[in-house]
Amino acid sequence: MGNSLTEIIINSIKLILVFLIMVQAVPVLVWLERRGSAFIQNRFGPNRIGPLGLMQLLADAVKFLFKEEFSPAKSVKFLYYAAPVVALVPATLAFAAIPLGAPVQWDQYVFHLQGYEISVGIVFVLAVSSLATYAILLAGWGSGNKYALLGALRASAQVISYELALGLSIVGVILLYGTFDFNEIIQAQQGPLILHWMGHEITFLSFLPNWGIFYQPLGMVIFFASAFAESNRLPFDLAEGEAELVAGFHVEYGGFKMLLFFIGEYGHMLVSSALIATFFLGGYTIPWVSMAELTQWVGTFIQTPNWISLVTGLITFAVMFAKIAVFLWIFIQVRWTLPRFRYDQLMDLGWKTMLPWALFNTILTATVIYFAHLG
């Protein structure tokens, strides 16, 4: 936690901040989603309240908060109320473990711009996000509704199946950087792209940044695809197949509880995008610009080193969020362009296509790394 009181306080504030960031990102995303979908479908979408309908989110929030508080008669109360909260937890915990910016050096303290730095971050994130299943199951069982239960079973099965592909696709990255620590991974992705082979350096690609995507294209594709499945988004949102299951596991939920589920889903999107950015796009680093250059450039405006590092941190934070935003937009775009899978297609894709390819990617990476370090 920390050694001195200031540090402890700052860290606690950080935790709260991260949580708020996630929660506040959700209305923005909702608005973005609605407007975006509207434009994709050649509509206007919400545009009454405020400029560009930006105030729409507030209205939504108010509506959610003041809806009637009810629970189905057949429901198991405890589980029914526990589920939305549980849905919120994994995304938050995972998101808090991802570094969002360069560490800030303030006097003798070093503050990482993340909820808490964990040396085995990847494992932690995987572990926490694997708990997301419980929310679904609890909701499905708790609301005492067969549609909800079916949706929950389908969703949880899907999540479990795709966790395999997800984890395996990261294994390539772990092999590549030899660590579970996000910060180390991000550090390793700085500078130009220089490939090593049998001790020779291949530099003709060095106009590219040294990002993981150039080492792990297949891994990235698989990870991205299974990230969709993990966060129950189209084309993988079988849990809420409106046609056959009304709305899946949260059919009985309304009002604020529903909102919590929303936050959980969008939180998953956030986490996935952040992970992709971290693994494959160099995290908070700026392409073609090294940290040293950045600090030097900032130093041309400001003198005091504390402020310099703080500003640098904020800039990198902005960069990180830009990257995350790109992927968030891709999420939304995909949702409104692709149709839904059928369940057996989904399972076949997960088990017979993605899993083998992820395995192949792992083995390939291992061999290539072995040969690369031969020299």
Partner: protein, 177 residues
């Protein structure tokens, strides 16, 4: 200092409470959830022992996969509260409880009898940088225990095939025709 003592006791109590719930609650759903809680508690205890990686794996494997399986099975079976949750028979039940209690007592007694020797013998801790233990772990796993590792791989393969063969779907989208 204090935080760690507090942490241990807190986690211990949570874990034990969850464990007791697993055994005593009559509704299998609740015992499954309690089991998940126990797993999480145990993994937190792993963290206090500096085994970060294992803690993560513990959650992934147990809480994320095994217990979810349990929950799903229970939900599929749709088991209501059971009439006879515990095995009948006064004598046998008493005998079972007694044997359990004595076993616990014996275990704890033996621990107290022997543990001091152990700690006094080697009282060096593992290196605290978790990355190190993880790397160390993997190195050991692929050098000293590589045979066991391979054997486990084979075992898992067999298990997968066996489980599929046991509970293969009759009817539905994946039925074999």
């Amino acid at each position: 200092m204090i935080t760690d003592v507090f942490l241990f006791w807190f986690l211990a109590i949570v874990t034990l409470a969850a464990g007791i719930t697993v055994v005593t609650v009559t509704n299998p759903i609740y015992s499954a959830l309690a089991l998940a809680m126990t797993m999480i508690g145990v993994s937190a205890l792993f963290v206090t022992l500096g085994a970060y990686f294992l803690a993560g794996v513990q959650i992934i494997v147990y809480a994320g996969a095994v217990t979810v399986l349990f929950v799903m099975v229970v939900m599929l079976f749709d088991l209501k509260y059971e009439v006879v949750a515990f095995s009948r028979g006064k004598v046998s039940g008493a005998l079972k409880l007694a044997s359990g209690a004595t076993l616990g007592g014996l275990l704890i007694g033996s621990i107290f009898l022997t543990v001091n020797g152990v700690t006094k013998a080697v009282s060096v801790g593992t290196s605290e940088k978790a990355g190190d233990t993880t790397k160390e772990l993997s190195r050991l796993l692929f050098t000293k225990y590589v045979f066991g590792f391979e054997a486990l791989g084979v075992l898992l393969l067999i298990i997968a095939v066996g489980a599929v063969a046991l509970a293969r779907s009759k009817g539905g989208t994946h039925a074999e025709h």
